[in-house]
Amino acid sequence: MDEKTIKENIDVLRDVLISHVPFAKAINMQILDAKEREAWMSVPYDEKLIGNPDTGVIHGGVITSALDNVSGVAVQLALPERMAIATLDLRIDYMKPATPKLDLTTHAHCYKVTRNIAFVRGTAYHDDVDDPIATSVGAFMLAANRSMPPADAAEQGLIKKVEG
């Protein structure tokens, strides 16, 4: 997929990657932008997402969920075709509390794909990506519900080969 194709297909992506994920819908997650290996998504502020009723700050778990989801989308955008992926691990560093009433923006970059694993970095912020609320690093298993690794499947012509 080249960048133009991805941009043209954001509506399709939105449908496949968000609308079919019940929990992404439950917290009203939206795709803001996407390109090859990268995605930007938002979570609008909502009182049901509050983790500390004294301050109105959203729960750390909302940030975990948003970073897990945007990381998965970035992995999909780094693969030659959609396939089942599973989060192996995810580390979140919380830099500062989210500001009450502000929407959350998340960005993820899938910087490396190997035969079986994809590696992703993510950031959660309000307006300025250089002033993060939290950062994440995660690893995802590819073709998680298949018996054959994607590179082997590509060699056998079952799926399109991963470029680069």
């Binding site: 079919h20 994920v21 019940p22 929990f23 992404a24 819908k25 439950a26 009182e47 049901k48 997402l49 509050i50 983790g51 500390n52 009723p53 004294d54 959203i58 729960h59 750390g60 778990g61 909302v62 975990t64 969920s65 948003a66 970073l67 897990d68 989801n69 998965g72 089942a84 599973a86 989060t87 192996l88 691990d89 995810l90 580390r91 979140i92 560093d93 919380y94 509390p97 519900n145």
Partner: protein
């Protein structure tokens, strides 16, 4: 939080059922506390909205992470008796098995309890306690700095 302060002032342990009910996000994703004596087990009630992969189907990884984090916070609130909720500094989640569409349980253990920071280990399971579906360890700030 008032609930935490009242328990501290009265010199009693905090009522975790009341505490969890006071946290909107914990209620939203369906977390309950099942306490027997000093043994605290949290329960994540299954609901179709917490699914992340409808094809398998499997629970959303973020919800499992949220559940583990909340379990750690409950354990810390109970054991440390602080006046404010502990704040997560970092959390590393290992996903071991896909979360089936059913109730999930978790328990936390405080590995190290320092003056300002605690290290906590959490495990979540479904059918069998010995077959964890996810585990996490993380650091939590127990008392925010005076100027915050």
């Amino acid at each position: 939080m008032d609930i935490l302060k009242q328990a501290r002032d009265a010199g009693t342990k905090v009522d975790l059922t009341k505490l969890i009910d006071a946290i909107p996000y914990a209620k939203f994703i369906g977390i309950e506390v099942d306490q027997k004596g000093t043994e605290i087990t949290t329960v994540l009630r299954f609901d179709p909205k917490i699914i992340g992969n409808p094809v398998l189907p499997a629970l959303h990884g973020g919800v499992i992470g949220s559940f583990l984090e909340t379990t750690a916070i409950m354990q810390l609130a109970y054991e440390t008796g602080g006046e404010v909720l502990p704040k997560p500094i970092d959390l590393t989640i290992d996903y071991l098995r896909s979360g089936k569409p059913q109730d999930t349980f978790a328990r936390a253990r405080i590995t190290k309890h320092g003056r300002r920071v605690a290290n906590v280990h959490v495990e979540a399971w479904q059918d069998e306690h010995t077959k964890a579906i996810a585990a996490a360890h993380g650091h939590f700030l127990l008392k925010p700095p005076e100027d915050s």
